[in-house]
Symmetry: C2
Subunit: 138 residues, 2 copies
DNA sequence: CAATTCAGATTACATCTGTAGTCATTGGGA
DNA sequence: TCCCAATGACTACAGATGTAATCTGAATTG
């Protein structure tokens, strides 16, 4: 399973999975996680308004993400199609764990407690979490 | 209640509470949250080994934190005592919310679900969370 | 009282980030 | 066929960050 199709990935962080994605870069990833592949122009349609960016900015961010090895490019005529190489799930997982590790000594309960205390939990959230707990105990 | 003691705070982010604390800076804050006030040397004792830093590095970080308005200084003879101006609670709250907003659309339940799925929840965590839930419902 | 030393202040510098401008190429329409 | 418009590549540049060296002034000590 070496060459599926023709996605090109710049060898960057294969393996460790470090390569942090910055705030601005994250916005671009969001767009691509919602739908991919997309051209730079399409990505811009999704984010330029929202963030007040111009095309060059998006181009730069896309390029950086390719360099970081989290986006793959695929030539499509004269332009490129961009596809995420890391799943949103993975990213979200890494970031969540980072936070829990840093701020709560790796324990999730204190985070939960904190959210509860700061009233960041809606009734819905609570109901949903109870449900999840029941699932977990099965 | 204007002049309690003689803490000096550089006017920086009074009000908004933005002023992000960087990763390295966070390590310094951790030390001061554990015990304060402390001198630069004491802080270094706590973090220099851990992070492989030298005194100058700690000094720089302390200075930046003072500029950012999250540390207060208090002269003590020829040196300074540093004290956090923002509580750990507050910081942790802000950062948690940031994550939940960015990654989970502001909902805590999906975060919880994610932690559950990725087995980041220990049995202890679960028990504790159940307990918290019961508290919440009272 | 002078020299050493310690602490803060200033300066340094590479990299990362945010945000863009400009250049060069190339496919498509006049 | 030739020029224009679109597109990726390269360059730019200020501010944040990580990490530290050096300068400077004052306290300690012989």
């Amino acid at each position: 399973m070496t060459g599926d199709s023709s996605l090109t990935q710049t060898d960057a962080d294969n393996g460790g999975g470090a390569e942090r994605i910055s705030d601005a870069e994250y916005a671009v990833m969001e767009a691509l996680w919602q739908k991919s592949p997309q051209t730079a122009a399409e990505v811009c349609d999704h984010v330029c308004d929202q963030r007040g960016w111009s095309m060059p900015t998006v181009k730069t961010l896309l390029a950086r993400l390719v360099t970081k090895g989290v986006l793959a490019t695929q030539p499509d005529g004269r332009r490129f199609l961009y596809t995420p190489l890391v799943a949103r799930e993975a990213y979200v997982g890494t970031e969540s764990r980072r936070l829990v590790d840093r701020l709560f000594g790796g324990r999730a309960a204190p985070l939960f407690a904190h959210l509860a205390e700061s009233e960041a939990l809606s009734a819905e959230d609570i109901a949903e979490i109870e449900h999840l707990l029941r699932e977990l105990k099965k």
